[in-house]
Symmetry: C2
Subunit: 340 residues, 2 copies
Amino acid sequence: MRPKLTLKQIARELDVSISTVSKALKDSPEIGEDTKQKIKAFAKLYNYKPNNIALSLKNRKTKTIGIIIPEIVHYFFTTVISGVEQVANEKGYNVIVCLSNNSFDREVLNLDLLANGSTDGFILSLAKETMQKEDYHHLTEVINQGMPVVLFDRVVDEVHCDKVIIDDIIGAKKAVEHLINTGCKKIGILTTVDYVSVGKLRTKGYIEALEENAYPVDEDLILKIEDMDNSEKEIGEFLKTRDIDGLFAVNEQFAVSAIGSLRRLGRNVPEDVSVVGFTDGELSKNFIPSLTTVSQHGTRMGAEAAHLLIDKLERKPDEVESYKTVIVETSLVRRESTKN
Amino acid sequence: MRPKLTLKQIARELDVSISTVSKALKDSPEIGEDTKQKIKAFAKLYNYKPNNIALSLKNRKTKTIGIIIPEIVHYFFTTVISGVEQVANEKGYNVIVCLSNNSFDREVLNLDLLANGSTDGFILSLAKETMQKEDYHHLTEVINQGMPVVLFDRVVDEVHCDKVIIDDIIGAKKAVEHLINTGCKKIGILTTVDYVSVGKLRTKGYIEALEENAYPVDEDLILKIEDMDNSEKEIGEFLKTRDIDGLFAVNEQFAVSAIGSLRRLGRNVPEDVSVVGFTDGELSKNFIPSLTTVSQHGTRMGAEAAHLLIDKLERKPDEVESYKTVIVETSLVRRESTKN
DNA sequence: CCAACGTCCGAAAACGTTTGCGTGTTGAAA
DNA sequence: TTTCAACACGCAAACGTTTTCGGACGTTGG
């Protein structure tokens, strides 16, 4: 076991000073050609690599960005991470991933931990608990210390920083309009209760689309699902007694549950009922029939967030503060669960 | 914007020395009671937190572990990360996640980067390209520098370190035996080319199960898929000309593709053909029919890996080296894609 | 022959900690 | 009054870098 090589050891070995070694390796003109050659050769031979920790301490920057997400076993978040990683790597940054598990305390803990020197900035999506408590002091504090933060997906007006979101309302409208355009006359929606912000927004989009197309809005065709664990049954009950020919589901899960129920009721998708989902995940792509869905473009969101953050990090400190909110457009991915 | 508080600033503010502050905060008996109180009060008021980078440099340990995986948009890997994160956090460690994107170069790059001070050890699953090249010098080098490494899932004998694997052979046997026990007479397999070690092992399990049950092994029923992006078509071709009543797929993707193809060929699952997959992901649970599958228990693997690594990290340096390989048992999850 | 200048290199500070040891002050014992 | 613990605190080194400054030496020009 050979421990890591340091400047000091090279210096001792070659009988020069530490600073000479450092300069030689950086090709400084201060150092004589032959000395440089000797040092470089030695360093290469023994594979010298500067210690990142020491560099971080000296430069007061770590070249790593922290990303805190509510959960990782979740297609959307992994695509976001993937997007962040990609541009971060391009720009020479590392990525630390932490999980809040939707817990406020874990979010605070992780943030505190990473804020003490481990990262130069954050990209994060708020934990469910945090949004319930409406307590964002940990974020404002970190921001006050001059650490850039980018919020994505689950954002909140109270925190003053860059943000990356999708337009849920427009996305939902696209979905419903597609149902309308492909001939659906009676369109239902499977959504969540209103305190889940994205559910609320998507419901709003659904209603707007109907209204703009002079479709009646029938409260009876709106199912707000409370208990995620029992959604299957609720959806079954709902569909049994509704005579719809189009259905918009605010997530993949609801969409596939619905298709299962419909099939059991002897109704075919998309012949009898067209179905559109939200979130373009593994399920949508591989389900049979594959799902027409509103894609959130997680990778692009991640990339945007990373750009925003890195811009802030590499900006001259005297430039004026300004916070952007970039909206990543959703797009409708047409597949087999709708007609045409 | 108020920059981070340091010991030095507290010292200046309170007109004591840096060391006094440090000791006071650690409740050292060297410092007088009243001085301690004063310093602690001040630190608490202004929310002093020691700088992790400085600590890392001083202690020569970072309390973070690096995990490098081939891809993150992949259910299995996310469950592993989740498992690692859980025990890492319990033990006061942070987790850095890096992606190799199945590229050898990126794997080397990430490893080099993190090895230079950023992490105390690694948990990783090899990139496909790395296994093809059979070049593991980057790993052996890191290990030689005294940095503990734990390999999981995609492991390799050439690298001498702790490992966490599942018993692919036994898992595959369980799957095939289940097909046999539910009455299948002619069983095919959808697998990967042999340099993907798990594919190879699962194929082996398939063959062993057949042999132990006195079933003939027909090479013609084995499809080794080379190009993941074109698997759909390959599988379709394969199934069109094989008269099987049981099918074992070495991953979810292949399983659902197969079911799609079968349906298009007018063959029902599980009535005409039973299908078993590998990896218990979102797809398996929600597909129609839901997939009987071999669960890899990724979370448990991650937890095991983390324990192994942290044990090594916190071991006294004089203890003898010894490398363990822990095998996480798979289990068969019975669902609708097989009979009974 | 001496001053001036170039070339090549080393010393030291700094980043923020921790910690072994030295030192000054106090009070009490002799 | 002298001496010596005990107490309370500061100094400085160390972790591995980078970088500014200045020094030593040799060469050149006047």
